[in-house]
């Protein structure tokens, strides 16, 4: 999914750079308003985890592999604003340190994976949470499904960029069909890894999961007075 330099022409890359800068800028501001103190180190860990798991390419079809993008994973764990920043940090490190993903294509990659993948995926997660009962299982299932769809959204965003400024000569329709086809398969892996990871964190520290915060509040309110009453006795 990492676009190298050259696939997309300079004007389109520049425009995507503006979209990426806008997305990261708004995310910085909103994360500053919403990020909890205990979630700040978790967000650093989420970025490192996404970097590691992006290395783990899994086979999806003959001669093709895929790897986690991590947008929905980050959004569900630390919120969409901090989540966008997590994925952007990973993409910057990959481009500058590993030469994975082009330099002039950095704005394209941040747009597709940190903006479209994170916020598109978060919107689907949000809708699913509202449609399903308020349980931990719903959080896990919603994160998995949203993660899978977010990969297809990111792939579609690439096709839009290809349609506007792609250097290749293949018709947009065939590129769209191929990109959506293979990334639907990759999305299954994305969904499984995301659901597993969210499930583990929910099992160990449910209070840290941003996308499950609504499940926490009644529990906290219920135990606090009880504990205080026990201390009085």
């Amino acid at each position: 999914m990492h676009i190298p330099d050259g696939f997309i022409n300079a004007p389109t890359s520049l425009a995507a750079g503006a979209v990426a800068a806008g997305g990261v800028g708004v995310s910085l501001r909103r994360a500053a308003q919403t990020l909890q103190e205990r979630q700040a180190p978790l967000a650093g860990l989420v970025a490192a985890y996404i970097f590691a798991v992006q290395m783990l390419n899994f086979p999806v079809a003959a001669g093709t592999s895929g790897h986690l993008l991590g947008g929905v994973l980050a959004a569900v764990l630390v919120g969409p604003w901090a989540g966008c920043l997590c994925v952007a940090v990973v993409l910057v490190v990959q481009s500058l340190l590993i030469a994975d993903g082009g330099l002039t294509a950095l704005g394209l990659n941040i747009t597709n994976m940190a903006v479209v993948g994170v916020f598109g995926g978060w919107a689907i997660f949000w809708l699913l949470r509202r449609a399903l009962p308020a349980t931990r299982t719903s959080v896990v299932v919603s994160s998995g499904i949203a993660a899978g769809i977010s990969v297809v959204l990111a792939a579609a965003a690439f096709v839009v960029e290809y349609a506007i400024g792609g250097a290749g000569h293949a018709p947009v329709g065939t590129v769209l069909a191929a990109m959506v086809g293979v990334h639907t398969l990759i999305g299954i892996g994305e969904g499984v890894i995301t659901a597993l990871t969210v499930g583990v964190v929910l099992g160990v520290r449910p209070d840290l999961v941003y996308g499950a915060q609504d499940l926490q509040t009644p529990l906290v309110l219920g135990t606090e007075p009880q504990r205080a009453a026990e201390e009085v006795r």
Binding site: L28, A43, I98
Partner: protein, 111 residues
Amino acid sequence: MRSSNLRLFLLGGLLVTIGLALVVSGFASSQPDGLEKVATDKGFLETARDHPLADGPLADYAVKGVDNQRLSAGLSGLIGVLVTFGLGLALFALVRALRSRGQDSDPTRAP
């Protein structure tokens, strides 16, 4: 109690992350990913230019000078994880600092 638990959780998470990057990465599929495969099939792979840093010491998930492929990938992953974690911690500490400079709220309050 809670903050020590959080530290323990973060340490555990970091160890798992390092394990994935250092060891499991050596067993990852080396087939082209979805975009690369589509670019090959649809004939626009050759429009890619070499990355300006393609000769860098960690380029393409390999540490220059380490010949064992799995070890090389694992070490590059370890370095990448530590750099990403450090950058992430610094960035989110900055994000928190932006918050306290503005309107800080009671840290004990539930969201």
